[in-house]
């Protein structure tokens, strides 16, 4: 028991993402409203984005913006700045996420126009007719 708690506390950030992911996952599967599903998807994506960003963190690391001349003359001590690569990657992932959300919302508009509702049960009922 002690070991498990220690494990959880030591890597608390990962556990937070796991919890976030599961919330998103639950929303995608459990919710019957299509917009809520979409929000679940966003939470899911955000969890992964946070996961990535946190991998760049270093204890005591600063912002990875350095003065050009200082960097050229002294070089950079990697320990003093956080790893910027995951952040940059996640910028792209965020853009992807926005695009997906945009397309999904547009699609939902069409669904709404088609069925007059965004509740999955009601839509299925209408299809069944």
């Amino acid at each position: 028991m002690q070991g498990i708690i220690a494990e959880i506390v030591a890597k608390y950030n990962y556990w937070i993402y796991v919890v976030l992911m599961m919330i998103g996952f639950y929303a995608m599967i459990g919710k019957r409203n299509l917009v809520k599903k979409l929000i679940g998807l966003n939470i899911f994506q955000t969890a992964i984005i946070l996961f990535y960003v946190s991998t760049g963190v270093k204890r005591g690391g600063g912002i990875p913006i350095v003065d050009k001349h200082a960097a050229l003359t002294h070089g950079i001590d990697p320990a003093t700045v956080v790893n910027p690569l995951p952040h940059v990657l996640m910028l792209t992932a965020i853009v992807v996420g926005v695009s997906v959300t945009g397309v999904a919302l547009a699609v939902l508009l069409r669904v709404y126009r088609e069925y007059g509702t965004l509740e999955e049960d009601e839509i299925l009922e209408k299809i069944g007719k």
Partner: protein, 159 residues
């Protein structure tokens, strides 16, 4: 003053004079800031994405504060789409130009063949052009996302 009061009375619910005036004042500064972020993006924090989003936000702000038609009057759907496409074309075009001029794709130093400059200078300028392209594309996409989603794709009244 009377005119202003008159307009305030005939305004639809939710439209407030204070907000509209504030937005009208803010939008130029927001856009200027957006341009700043784009232009300085290639060697300091910022860039095409961020600047584009800020520019796009300025149009969205107009649309929120006034209505969709007003913002479309400033910046029509057609212009927006053309600018978006042109942005991507600029980005890929610069990359392709590098390739056509004998370098690798996006290898801006190859652009020396057009205007003889220091290759390092060209690298800086090339990425700047790319950032401008990205900024244009992102701006137009942000704007049209809002327009289309808020009006169910019909671009009439908006939220």
């Amino acid at each position: 003053m009377k005119q202003v009061q008159e307009r305030a009375r005939t305004r639809a619910v939710g439209e407030s004079l204070i907000i509209q005036t504030a937005v009208r004042l803010m939008v130029p500064f927001i856009q200027l800031f957006g341009l700043y972020v784009i232009v300085h993006g290639h060697y300091s924090p910022g860039g095409g994405f961020q600047g584009g989003v800020i520019l796009g936000a300025s149009f969205i702000l107009t649309a929120v504060a006034f209505d969709l038609q007003t913002s479309l009057k400033r910046f029509s759907e057609r212009t927006n789409a053309i600018m978006g496409n042109a942005g991507v074309l600029l980005y890929t075009g610069v990359g392709l130009l590098c390739a056509l001029l004998g370098g690798l794709f996006l290898d801006y130093s190859a652009l020396v063949r057009i205007i003889p400059m220091d290759p390092v200078e060209w690298r800086s300028l090339g990425i700047f052009l790319v950032e401008v392209g990205v900024g244009l594309a992102v701006m137009s996409i942000m704007a049209s996302l809002y327009w289309d989603l808020s009006s169910r794709g019909e671009l009439d009244e908006g939220l």
